[in-house]
């Protein structure tokens, strides 16, 4: 015998709608679901553990800041490739280096007060026996200069870093050059100079570093080693800052004077 249950029709419809809405949301459908078979079918169609399609994205970073990477709708990111192409704005870091192949440097950046690059490496192809770099960085804010592979033996470095107001040069390295004949290298007002490197016995006349109090111990020794032996020739003079001179050992002073250099 069939039993009947009396229920509130409106309440029953409301309750079934709640269930149907839940099934539709889970199943990603908007279809009308009849009770019970429609709902049953819809529930059975719901896939558990569904994986959204994967997506790979590539982005390019061109400036500092925050970049958000989001997948397209309905997808998940499986891989993000980042290409960095931030334009260098200069500065004093090791990465800010301008490399030039050039055959002379005379007046090259003279009086360019603010250089885009602060550090320079030169691979030189000079036209003549004398490589001229006089005044190349006079009046600039260069911080380091290195020179490699010259053919020239003679270098003109007069007023190389000349500046009335002082300059920022910290490193000057020509130890890998072929220079054997350097005279009057210009370190006027180079109060920030810390590292100086010349080829061995390459300086032949008048080295003035009396305005450079911050020379490293290694640089001081390199300078001594770079003085050419002038025995039998006219003596020449090396000037060092008082602070640097006070740090010299007796052996270093003897090494200087025995090469016929006067230390002032």
């Amino acid at each position: 015998m069939t039993e009947y249950v009396v229920v509130d029709k409106n309440q029953l419809e409301a309750d079934l709608t709640i269930v149907a809405d839940s099934i539709r949301a889970k199943g990603g459908t908007t279809e009308k679901l009849d009770f019970p078979l429609g709902m049953k079918s819809a529930v059975e169609s719901i896939q558990t553990g569904i994986t959204k399609p994967e997506q790979e994205k590539t982005i390019e970073i061109t400036e500092n800041g925050t970049t958000e990477v989001t997948p397209d709708e309905g997808k998940v990111l499986s891989k993000v490739t980042v290409n960095t192409n931030v334009e260098s704005g200069g500065g004093s870091g090791e990465s800010d280096v301008l490399t030039l192949n050039i055959n002379a440097l005379t007046d090259l950046f003279r009086d360019v007060a603010t250089l885009e690059y602060k550090n320079y490496v030169f691979y030189t192809f000079p036209r003549s026996e004398t490589f001229n770099m006089s005044r190349a960085f006079a009046g600039t804010d260069v911080e380091s200069v290195k020179i490699f592979g010259t053919v020239s033996r003679t270098a003109n470095m007069a007023n190389l870093f000349y500046s009335d107001l002082g300059n920022k040069i910290r490193v000057f390295d020509v130890s890998e050059s072929m220079f054997t004949n350097i005279s009057n290298p210009g370190f006027y007002n180079c109060s920030s100079l810390e590292e100086v490197r010349f080829p061995r016995e390459s300086i032949v006349a008048n080295l003035q570093l009396n305005q450079s109090p911050m020379l490293s111990a290694e640089s001081i020794q390199n300078i001594i080693d770079s003085l050419k032996d002038l025995t039998g020739s006219t003596s020449s003079t090396i000037r060092l800052h008082y602070d640097v001179k006070d740090k010299l050992t007796e052996a270093q002073i003897s090494a200087i004077t025995s090469k016929n250099w006067t230390l002032a």
């Binding site: 007046d107 007023n159 002038l230 000037r239 250099w261």
Partner: protein, 83 residues
Amino acid sequence: MKLETKNNIRILTPSEGMWLCNMTDRVISDKVYLGKNASETEWVEIDDSEKARLETLWESDTEPSETDSEYAEAGKILMGVTE
């Protein structure tokens, strides 16, 4: 001015309140260690006012002169300097 030798190093020192000056090399110093073949006669004593005068004179001579170097323009082009 006093010349003394210590461990084969010849040291030249000025009188009190004075400086040593080499006019040829344009060098002024408070103490000089002479190269083994250098002559102490290259050095003279000067006072503070002469020191100041010479330093000013030599400094003005040191300033680089104007030049029409062909490389000056090249450098400015490299740096994007337009004036």
